[in-house]
């Protein structure tokens, strides 16, 4: 049920100050457009990585849309997040083919290595781990996507290695 999304998101919603001028031009562009809520929210999320509460309030004022309508849309679609995310997003596919090919071993290995649970972000803010329904690379199952790049035919070990490589790169920066 989609209601679960609202409940889990509310618990950890934090008030963070963000630079709201970043979305001025975008909001002006969508003023008066019909059906703009989803692209506006997608743009806000691209800018900040999530949907900050004050950005939603601003969008509501500028676009003259009710706050509850926007909140309703934001909590309906799984793409939208109301809390900040890690710098690198790991999406482990749990589609049918990946499930059959033991995707849970991949999730479990990453959970153990990063010491977080599904949906959580590491304390250093480097990684967020998510389960997703299907990435559409079923014949290479099990699959995960790290920052938009897909990796196939994984095992728990090889998945952790890919994550560790990224961590090494981050440390060198």
């Amino acid at each position: 049920m989609r209601i679960e999304r609202i409940l889990t998101m509310n618990q950890s919603a934090a008030a963070v100050n963000v630079d709201l001028t970043l979305i001025d031009a975008m909001l002006t562009h969508y003023e008066g457009h019909k059906g703009a809520i989803i692209p506006v929210l997608q743009n806000i999320q691209t800018t900040y990585g999530y949907l900050p509460a004050n950005a939603i309030v601003k969008a509501s004022t500028v676009l003259k849309l009710s706050l509850s309508d926007i909140y309703g849309v934001a909590t309906f679609y799984s793409q939208f997040r109301l809390t900040p995310v890690g710098k690198n997003i790991i999406k482990v596919c749990h589609g049918t083919a990946c499930h059959v090919q033991n995707a849970s071993a991949v999730s479990e290995a990453i959970e153990e290595s990063l010491e977080i649970k599904d949906g959580q972000t590491t304390a250093d803010g480097l990684f967020t781990l998510e389960s997703v329904a299907c990435l559409g690379c079923c014949s290479l199952a099990p699959v995960m996507m790290l920052n938009g790049e897909a990796f196939g035919k994984l095992s728990g070990k090889s998945a952790v290695k890919i994550v560790n490589d990224v961590r090494m790169q981050e440390k060198q920066k």
């Binding site: 049920m1 989609r2 209601i3 679960e4 019909k34 059906g35 703009a36 809520i37 989803i38 692209p39 929210l41 997608q42 309508d69 309703g72 849309v73 309906f76 679609y77 799984s78 793409q79 939208f80 749990h94 589609g95 049918t96 083919a97 499930h99 059959v100 090919q101 071993a105 997703v132 329904a133 299907c134 990435l135 559409g136 690379c137 079923c138 014949s139 290479l140 199952a141 699959v143 938009g148 790049e149 897909a150 990796f151 196939g152 035919k153 728990g156």
Partner: protein, 594 residues
């Protein structure tokens, strides 16, 4: 042709890239046009042989050679021996026109209509598409002044039915939209491929985006629409990118926009709308609600979209694969399309083969072919020579087809008779190690999360189904559970508004129908015949293989394992919580499951 005319083509769909095609492509690019090597480097979409990715095709004066499982090392050998010296590397060839190769059965029996250009052209190059007869169908309509009624009749005569799974006659759908009187009409391409285990639409868009645009231009002309939307899920970034490139190219050529193809008053424009992650948006009324910027919740029909759809205007909506067939039908004639298939299901169908199958990939077969041929001939059978158990068709709305029904032919009505549905084309194959109760639980977990919450029976019923199934897989099944499942399924089916709810019980019903014994084994004997459900397994240490390394004991969260160093260890079954930690940590395969 000399070496400079040799073409080297790399399969660069999402799945190819996931397997490492980008690295291979970059390696080739780095060596191109050096003193020793001159060739023409191209990228292409999904070739279909996902099980051999990354794929590189070399076309020289003798013909085409497809190399599989290519990596950064092999490509150097291929470039050196084949491209420079003209000696094909036979060991890596998976397909060629010139001699038989081991993967030929994968191609035998395929008829490529929707996939005609996938893996052949560069999807980001309009000239490539036009060289294959692209946009000739629209030009044929314009030069011969084929009337709108005649186009619709052509599509009706071809027998094309909705490839998204609905199976409704495409031509009839167009006719309804055509008959609706309104100045503004919309046309939509449903590319919200949310069904887990399916990737036909993604591959089609990534491999041949212009075919979908051309189909939509023809549809728009036929029904009189001037605006189109391609609703594509955001999980497919490459597909969205290539669609936008293709739309831009079509604009430049005057194939989209105002007075297109030089016809006064024929205006048609198109944009891509990114979905935001909701499976229910694959349902047409929910999809339109989503385009309008609302929560993607289905609406009551009637009125049907053909009368009152997007923004309350007449709307025609078809799936990606349906659109990809349109220009072929117009160009080659409906008779030629209808020559393939069965009496009620004409043409071809694209399937995505995945799961425990040897040749996972994308195939297009004529309707009427037995499922057995798709799985065992094209698909090569089951991985690791295990035993076939079932094939899942139609995703969360579909069902599992068991071994004894494998001779069922691919045709809407025959598949529906088994309790599964044709669906959009995802075929997930399961072997003896797949637990069917767990499979049903997996799908209910999905539909339960994706239910929009509008209808009580879907919202609450799927949750209850999931709870019962979870209980059964954890060894807490009770007498009467099976009957309770059946009763709930019936109620959810009859009391839900949209397809999601009406079909959500199918995975439970078909597994109950064909694999009832597995449910009974879980409930009454507390056993999982497939050795899949963790809570129903018993972990024991084999004294012969155990080296006494103590790794299992160190990792056991409940201290259930004891034993002296260098001596065989023992699991105390009363303390074991069946977490599987010892099993995954043991380096000597000394832990057995039963």
């Amino acid at each position: 042709m000399g070496m400079a005319d040799t073409i080297v083509r790399v399969g660069m769909a999402s799945c190819g890239i996931a397997a490492g095609a980008r690295k291979v492509y970059d390696t080739i690019k780095g060596l191109q046009n050096t003193d020793y090597l001159k060739f023409n480097l191209q990228q292409t979409g999904c070739i279909g042989m996902c099980f051999r990715e990354p794929l590189v095709e070399v076309i020289d004066e003798n013909g085409s050679y497809l190399y599989g499982d290519v990596d950064a090392e092999k490509i150097l050998e291929i470039l050196n021996k084949h491209v420079r010296n003209g000696e094909p590397v036979r060991d890596y060839i998976v397909r060629t026109d010139l001699f038989a190769s081991q993967d030929d059965p994968f191609w035998k029996g395929q008829v490529k209509i929707a996939l005609r250009n996938c893996g052949v052209i560069d999807p980001e190059n309009l000239d490539d598409y036009m060289r294959q007869g692209g946009y000739d169908a629209v030009k044929k309509i314009m030069t011969n002044n084929i009337s709108r009624e005649d186009i619709i009749q052509m599509i009706i005569d071809s027998g094309l039915r909705g490839r998204g799974g609905g199976g409704f006659s495409t031509g009839m759908k167009w006719k309804f939209a055509y008959n609706s009187q309104n100045e503004t009409k919309y046309i939509i391409c449903n590319a919200d491929e949310g069904d887990p285990g399916a990737f036909m639409d993604r591959s089609l868009i990534e491999g041949d985006p212009h075919a979908i645009i051309e189909g939509m231009i023809i549809g728009a002309y036929a029904i009189g629409a001037s605006d189109g939307v391609i609703y594509c899920r955001a999980e497919y970034p490459l597909a969205i990118k290539r669609l936008n490139i293709a739309i831009g190219q079509a604009h430049e050529k005057g194939f989209l926009g105002k007075n297109i193809f030089g016809i006064d008053g024929f205006n048609f424009d198109l944009y891509v709308k990114e979905g935001a992650g909701a499976f229910v948006c694959g349902e047409e009324t929910a999809l339109m609600a989503s385009i309008e910027g609302e929560r993607g919740m289905p609406r009551r029909r009637p009125p049907f979209p053909a009368v009152s759809g997007l923004f309350k205007k007449p709307t025609n909506i078809n799936n990606v694969e349906t659109w990809a067939n349109v220009s072929w039908i117009v160009l080659n004639g409906p008779e030629k399309y209808a020559a393939f298939g069965t009496e009620k299901s004409k043409g071809t169908k694209v399937f995505a083969l995945a799961g425990k199958i040897k040749h996972g990939g994308l195939v297009e077969v004529p309707m009427g072919i037995p499922l057995r041929d798709v799985i065992f001939k094209l698909g090569g059978g089951i991985q690791n020579n295990k035993k076939f158990k079932a094939v899942q068709m139609g995703g969360p709305s579909g069902g599992c087809i068991p071994e004894h029904l494998l001779d069922t032919i691919v045709d809407y009505d025959s598949v529906t008779a088994t309790g599964a549905i044709m669906g959009s084309g995802g075929l997930v194959v399961m072997d003896e190690n797949t637990c069917m109760v767990d499979m049903a639980r997996f799908f209910l977990d999905f539909t339960q999360k994706e239910s929009c919450g509008k209808c009580t029976f879907c919202r609450v019923g799927t949750k209850r189904l999931l709870e019962i199934l979870t209980r059964i897989t954890q060894g807490e099944g009770r007498e009467g559970d099976i009957e309770l499942l059946e009763e709930l399924c019936e109620q959810i089916k009859t009391s839900s508004l949209c397809g999601l709810g009406q079909t959500a019980p199918n995975p439970v019903l078909t597994t109950l129908k064909y694999f009832r014994n597995e449910y009974e084994a879980h409930i009454f004997n507390k056993k999982c015949p497939a050795h899949n459900c963790k809570k129903l397994l018993t972990y024991t240490i084999e004294t012969d293989t155990c080296t006494g390394c103590t790794v299992c004991a160190k990792n056991c969260p409940t201290n259930a394992i004891s034993g002296e160093r260098k001596l065989p260890h023992l699991i105390d079954q009363s303390l074991c919580i069946k977490c599987g930690a010892c099993f995954s940590k043991c380096k000597f395969n000394a832990i057995s499951l039963s």
